[in-house]
């Protein structure tokens, strides 16, 4: 590809997603979506599940230059199935000219992707549906005020975990669940690393079949930090090894960036009010140590 994205200056200079949406200031999900949309282009139909980004399209406004279909929380992949099947039928029967074809995109938060929508997602992958799933993962049910979701990290305080130990569970490995289905492509991204993100969207766009783009979405309101810090927190998520940038393709997992030296996870946790209870009124060394040990174990396995 002559127009392949290799350096920052190769990133698209035309921005396609409209501004003035009702997303919160500093929304890491919207930051990622802007960049993703610039690479995907407007020949797209976004099939959405209930979540923050449902509010992108409020009658009669939309920031998308392409198409949009809102479904419900559990079934965006099934909506994508219906759209894709119908487009294929129309193309085969020559009722739709090839240039009118669309990329079928699913757009959901972690609540749908990790939980309620997992059955319809798994089934869409089983059927080898040709679609790209974008999950903006802000690690909780953000649109309703950040209750814990299956994507919430260990020890984070949420609206349903206000105690001194925070959320007792562990973040579900959605990347691994997808990879176990042997789909065409799975990748993690973050808006704070735009070059890595653009390369992955470009690769995903060139492939057919089920593809997941899992974007960590720093969330000022849900994670409790100043919106101005969004990008820096995103970078810290990568530098501290909390958010590994990786891909699954052709049956293999590749880590695109192994942070070295890895920043202590404390640096990342200290930036967010949802982890403040780990530092005051007194430092919780046991819990901090547990979180660091989890990350160390992950990277030890990667580097083996």
């Amino acid at each position: 590809m002559s127009d392949a994205i290799r350096r920052m200056k190769d990133l698209p200079s035309t921005h396609l997603l409209g501004t003035g949406t009702p997303m919160c200031a500093g929304c890491g999900g919207l930051e990622a979506l802007h960049q993703i949309y610039d690479v995907l282009g407007t020949n797209t139909v976004f099939v959405n599940a209930a979540g923050c980004m449902t509010l992108l399209s409020v009658y009669p406004f939309t920031p998308f230059r392409g198409s949009w279909l809102y479904t419900a929380m559990a079934c965006a992949p099934a909506g994508a199935q219906g759209v894709r099947d119908a487009l294929d039928i129309l193309l085969t029967s020559k009722r739709l000219p090839p240039e009118d074809d669309l990329q079928t995109i699913v757009l959901t938060g972690d609540g749908a992707a990790y939980g309620m929508g997992l059955s319809s997602t798994s089934a869409a992958i089983d059927r080898n549906l040709d679609f790209l799933y974008i999950c903006y993962d802000n690690e909780g049910y953000g649109n309703t005020g950040q209750q814990s979701s299956p994507a919430t990290p260990h020890a984070a305080q949420t609206a349903t975990n206000t105690g001194s130990r925070g959320f007792p569970g562990y973040k579900k490995d959605l990347f691994g669940i997808w990879a176990a289905h042997r789909p065409a492509y799975v990748a993690t991204v973050i808006g704070a690393e735009p070059l890595d993100l653009a390369k992955k969207i470009e690769k995903a766009k060139s492939l057919r079949g089920p593809r997941l783009i899992l974007a960590l979405a720093p969330c000022p309101t849900g994670w409790d930090f100043d919106p101005a810090e969004s990008v820096e927190i995103g970078r810290l998520a990568v530098r501290s090894g909390v958010w590994p940038l990786k891909e699954y393709i052709d049956g293999k997992v590749i880590h695109n960036h192994v942070p070295h030296p890895r920043a202590p996870v404390e640096e990342y946790l200290k930036t967010q009010g949802r982890f403040a209870h780990l530092f005051s009124p007194e430092r919780n060394d046991a819990l901090l140590g547990e979180i660091q040990a989890h990350i160390d174990a992950y990277w030890a396995a990667v580097n083996k």
Partner: protein, 414 residues
């Protein structure tokens, strides 16, 4: 004209085939499964073109159906009972997309207790969804109403999905002679689907099913759907006439049987009404002027036609094969609302019967007719009746006795 012995399920599948549907999202459930198996076979053999996709749930199935209709193809799907209820979030969601398609529901009682045979609580749960719904009493009606449903659903004055209902077992697995219309005649009656402005394509982006944030736009779109559903009544008359011209069979919002000069009328929907017709014949032989009024379409609700059909009758007994717990029969309540304030309104009684496939034998129809005419003569309205006999109670007591004995056998205290 090609006459064949077909089950209700096969008649539904033939309706979809003759309508040349493009897309069938499917999920199996008793007693509907024969429909999707039949269609799957035809797609595999190339006797139908397009695609059948197996979904992993009815919730996803209805989502895929509506999404495909919103992309511009003709869609057919089918379910029953628990499946319809599993899909219910989307059953209420997709009519607002104004993307027409046809869903055949093969009625079956709802859990609990879980059961397989027919009643109407499943389809009546979809009553307020925005789907239109039509109830069939014969296998011929099933085929005819799949075709009619597409015409009405796709009409630019309506643009709503339609549920075509048939009773599980009594109709789904019963073979009856069915006239299969010629494919060319069907194509003339039902031209290819015109998606109008609701479709996805790169050159003309659209946003569908978007959010609103206030009561006024919400009300506006809800009223639009309601008015379209009401408008379907006159569209239905028009299309029923065209259907008669094309195929020689009369249809319409109501089917009436010997009701014109009747003193006493049974009101029922679906295949159960054919038993009421048989009972009316016997009652007439015994000197009781009985008749039957069977609403085919429940949404749109044919209130004016029902008022006209029931004005001046002495007694009307609505036999509901459904039960709204704590209220009673759904059809009875709706008919009472339609007849309220009518100067020559009949005495209106509510009977609950036929739940979960419970048979309503002829003697019960005779008894209902006799008692209702008695109440009407005394100027009284009886309280709602739940059909259940001493003999049935004895059967249930026997089951309970076995349960107790077995429990004792296991050493448990009863």
């Amino acid at each position: 004209m090609n006459r064949q012995l077909l089950t209700g399920n096969a008649a539904a599948a033939w309706g979809a085939r003759l309508a040349q549907v493009d897309y069938v999202p499917a999920f199996p459930i008793t007693p509907q499964t024969e429909i999707i198996e039949t269609l799957a076979r035809w797609f595999e053999r190339g006797e139908m073109t397009g695609r059948l996709t197996m979904l992993e749930s009815e919730h996803s199935m209805v989502t895929a159906a509506a999404a495909a209709a919103a992309t511009g193809v003709r869609v057919f799907t089918a379910t029953s009972s628990q499946g319809l209820l599993y899909a219910m979030e989307m059953v209420f969601t997709v009519p607002g997309w104004r993307a027409p398609f046809v869903l055949v529901n093969v009625s079956r009682g709802l859990a609990s207790p879980i059961t397989l045979e027919s009643d109407h609580n499943d389809v009546l749960a979809a009553r307020d969804s925005g789907f239109l719904q039509v109830h069939c009493a014969t296998c011929q009606e099933v085929l005819d109403h799949v075709l009619l449903a597409y015409r009405i659903a796709e009409d630019s004055r309506v643009r709503l999905p339609v549920i075509v209902n048939l009773d599980g077992f009594t109709l789904s697995f019963t073979r009856e002679p069915v006239d299969l219309p010629a494919a060319e005649a069907v194509q003339q009656f039902l031209p290819p689907f015109d998606p109008q402005n609701v479709r996805f394509r790169a050159s003309k982006p659209v946003s569908q099913a978007v959010a609103v944030l206030a009561g006024s736009p919400y009300s506006y779109f809800r009223y639009e759907t309601h008015l379209a559903a009401q408008q379907a009544l006159s569209v239905l008359d028009e299309i029923a006439e065209q259907f008669f011209q094309a195929f020689g069979r009369r249809t319409g919002p109501l089917a009436t049987y010997r009701s014109e000069d009747a003193d006493m009328v049974f009101v029922m929907i679906g295949a159960g009404a054919t038993k009421a017709c048989e009972a009316a014949d016997r009652l007439r032989e015994a000197g009781v002027a009985a008749g039957v009024v069977r609403p085919r379409w429940l949404r749109p609700y044919p209130a004016a036609a029902l008022r006209a059909a029931l004005a001046g009758k002495k007694a009307v007994a609505v036999i509901d094969q459904d039960l709204s717990m704590g209220q009673g029969g759904v059809l009875h309540a709706e008919l009472a609302a339609a007849l309220y304030g009518m100067p020559n309104a009949p005495m209106l009684a509510s009977i609950i019967g036929g739940l979960g496939g419970r048979n309503i034998p002829p003697e019960e129809f005779y008894e209902i007719a006799k008692r209702m005419l008695g109440f009407a003569a005394r100027g009284e309205t009886p309280p709602p009746q739940l059909l259940f006999t001493e003999r049935e109670l004895r059967q249930v007591r026997k089951l309970q006795a076995i349960a107790v004995v077995e429990r004792k056998e296991l050493g448990e205290k009863p």
